[in-house]
């Protein structure tokens, strides 16, 4: 099985540690993951802000690069949801039909092979115990696209529960949006900040040391607020916790 990593532009540029963690974790589980160099961005920001023509171009770019692989693993719930939910819709728009006539077939081929990290672990590799060690009190924010777009359900929880030393505490109001929403955070800054303040309040109630999620965009938003408030709570991507081992644990 040839497995490719789609790192996403945000992780590639701002959170390389998450990418390194995915590589470490997959290698430990016997997967020789590849990194196709030509990859860039899934197009989520463009499409969700109202620039679908860019989205069509990036979707076409994506399907070309990943066509040859059996599975594509992505450490981002919202990018996976973008690919799974929006690519098929983009592919049938008039703009796509005119400029990228083959996109529909390409999307039909590639999209079913794209997995969020926890889907790949639980559904494809069929593991929940990945041999991780992380002796900390952790709470998990499911993020909207992982929860309502991908229906990840209890996969992340099952993975975290198997991590040795980890104490998982439930997050009140977990299913509520943190207020990130891409350009929403800037366009509707006041509402976004108010939503995040409530999310942060709930995180603080748990007494957790670490807030975990499967999407660094949301974590950048919540983490940025936690840091501004000098809360002492740090944020970590699910991959980074699952990659941690005794000796290597932070």
């Amino acid at each position: 099985m040839r497995v490719a990593l789609f790192i996403t532009c945000v992780n590639d540029t701002l959170f390389p540690g998450t990418g390194r963690a995915v590589v470490t974790l997959l290698r430990r589980l016997g997967v020789d993951v590849e990194f196709p160099q030509a990859q860039t961005c899934c197009g989520q920001m463009h499409v969700n802000t109202g620039y679908p023509a860019e989205g069509v171009r990036l979707a076409s770019h994506f399907t070309e690069i990943f066509a040859e692989y059996d599975a594509v693993v992505t450490p981002s719930g919202s990018c996976t949801a973008m690919i799974r939910e929006q690519y098929p819709r983009l592919a049938v728009t008039a703009g796509a039909a005119a400029k990228q006539p083959g996109l529909r077939e390409a999307v039909g081929e590639v999209v079913p092979k794209v997995y969020d990290l926890s889907e790949f672990l639980v559904d494809v590799l069929e593991v929940t115990d990945v041999g991780a060690y992380f002796p900390h009190r952790v709470t998990y924010h499911p993020t909207c696209h992982s929860l309502r777009g991908l229906h990840l359900g209890d996969r992340p929880r099952r993975l975290l529960e198997q991590v040795r030393g980890l104490e998982l505490v439930p997050l009140p109001g977990a299913e509520e949006c943190c207020g990130f929403g891409g350009t929403f955070a800037v366009k509707n800054r006041d509402i976004s900040a108010a939503m995040c303040a409530d999310k942060v309040g709930n995180v603080m109630k748990t007494g957790a040391e670490v807030l975990c999620a499967a999407d660094n965009s949301c974590l950048m938003h919540i983490g940025g607020t936690l840091s501004r408030q000098k809360s002492g709570v740090r944020v970590m991507h699910l991959a980074e916790i699952l990659a941690a081992t005794e000796g290597g644990a932070r």
Partner: protein
């Protein structure tokens, strides 16, 4: 739609003000979370909810596809039952028709059943201009009307008011309110009841909307919780119903689905308390039906946007929306607030104003609305589609074009990352311009020296 919202600023500006109002935040949070919980409980107890929801969606889609035929069938059935059907292409025409019908009776007063369609066309104001006084009889609408205020929720128009505020409004604007009125819900309801009772007995003309119209029988259906609607529908000698053309259902049997979906989604009740149904004119009452287009056929022409016409105005999407909960209904500048308003208003009114252009962006696309919608309207998808149709600010267009250029070639992205890595120490803690929206309340993440791809290349995927 109603003219009252003309000239309102954009959603972000309205919302920024509303979010500072701690009383409003408290009222809204309490009310929406209570209804949210009730809905979740009664929906959860139906094992076939998903099937019901699919059935609701399918029936509505079928009806919309054959709307022309079903509307004619409805017209024939209502006429055969002694009612008169009027067609109104826009708000002005509908208002003219209704005013003419009221004047023909010689009356100067009408009582009203809670109705979104008549709010949408600004009927009360139009009648007022013709010297006709319209009295709202739904308790919450009465509070809004007495307070010279706007509704801020589809189902609970006075959701932004608490008991103490309602007491103030009654004392100030309801001449027959007892001077020792308390803010006990029972006392407030009793005062309103006495006030309205007298209105019902005096009224000769009533105006309503309808939740559903049945094409095969010509029956109209109104669901309400107070019984005040039923008083209006039965007592007066003339009944005028203004109904959007999308409220049709083909057959009586279709109600089976919707009488389950609607109460559970809107009030969180298993069964609706007062369900009134009538067909044409009955002895002692003349019936007029005004069928309202007002932009709906244009919405119907849009492949993605047309699903908004499935809406049964249950408000479930408002009650789960984190943006609505913090911004309140008035920020949307329309009688249709919340997620459904964000997709319906720009379609009905167009996107010519700053406010209407900002509505499709009034969402973090969290998807909570889609999840609860009883007719499965994919609100996030319609929002994204409307965003593509909206005119974008010039600086944003330039930024998006630049980002697109970078993303088109991985070499450009790598170069941009290297540049960012070198400049990382120079990034200010507070960003300028529109991006200050980020750094006002959040710290920026540290920009790493190496991007992931730089690390991968340097270490051959971590093997060196």
């Amino acid at each position: 739609m109603s003219q009252t919202f003309v000239g309102m600023p954009s959603f972000p500006k309205n919302a920024a003000k509303a979010v500072q109002d701690s009383q409003l935040r408290f009222n809204l949070r309490k009310a929406t979370h209570t209804i949210r919980g009730k809905r979740a409980a009664v929906v959860g107890e139906l094992p076939d909810w998903a099937e019901l929801r699919q059935a609701g969606k399918a029936i509505k889609d079928h009806t919309l596809r054959h709307l022309d035929e079903y509307l004619l069938q409805l017209e024939a059935a209502v006429s055969a039952a002694g009612g008169t059907v009027h067609w109104a292409k826009d708000a002005a025409e509908a208002n003219r028709i209704v005013a003419g019908l009221v004047k023909a009776t010689g009356e100067r007063e009408v009582v009203k059943v809670k109705s979104m369609a008549t709010q949408e066309i600004g009927l009360n104001e139009a009648l007022e201009a013709e010297g006709i006084k319209a009295y709202e009889t739904d308790l919450a609408e009465l509070i809004v009307q007495l307070g010279d205020d706007w509704p801020s929720h589809i189902l609970v128009p006075a959701i932004h008011r608490n008991r103490a505020e309602i007491r103030e409004i009654f004392l100030a604007h309801m001449p027959d309110a007892p001077p020792d009125l308390t803010d006990e819900p029972r006392a407030l309801a009793e005062a309103a009841r006495l006030h309205l009772r007298e209105r019902f007995l005096r009224a000769k003309v009533a105006i309503s909307g309808a939740n559903f119209m049945i094409a095969e029988s010509g029956t109209l259906v109104v669901l309400e919780s107070e019984g005040n609607g039923r008083m209006c529908l039965t007592l007066p000698e003339t009944l005028i119903s203004v109904v959007g053309i999308e409220k049709l259902l083909p057959t009586w049997r279709d109600l089976e689905v919707f009488l389950q979906l609607l109460p559970r989604s809107s009030t969180g009740e298993r069964m609706n308390p007062y369900t009134s149904m009538w067909t044409g004119s009955v002895e002692g009452q003349d019936f007029h039906l005004v069928l309202l287009d007002n932009g709906r056929t244009d919405v119907l022409a849009d492949e993605i946007g047309r699903q908004a016409l499935r809406c049964i105005r249950c408000s479930a999407c408002l009650n789960v929306c984190p943006v609505y909960e913090r911004a309140g209904g008035h920020a949307y500048g329309s009688v249709y607030p919340g997620p459904i308003g964000a997709i319906l208003t720009p379609q009905l009114r167009g996107m010519d104003t700053e406010l209407d252009r900002s509505l499709p962006f009034a969402s973090s696309l969290c998807g909570a609305c889609y999840e609860v919608c009883p007719v499965a309207i994919d609100i996030p998808s319609v929002l994204v589609d409307l965003r593509a149709k909206a005119r974008h600010p010039r600086t944003e267009r330039a930024g998006m074009a630049a980002a697109g250029w970078v993303f088109n070639r991985s070499a450009r992205l790598a170069r941009a990352q290297r540049f960012g890595g070198r400049m990382r120490r120079l990034v200010p803690k507070r960003l300028p311009g529109p991006l200050s929206g980020w750094t006002d309340t959040r710290d920026l993440p540290d920009i790493p020296k190496d991007s992931f791809r730089a690390w991968w290349n340097r270490t051959e995927g971590g093997t060196r």
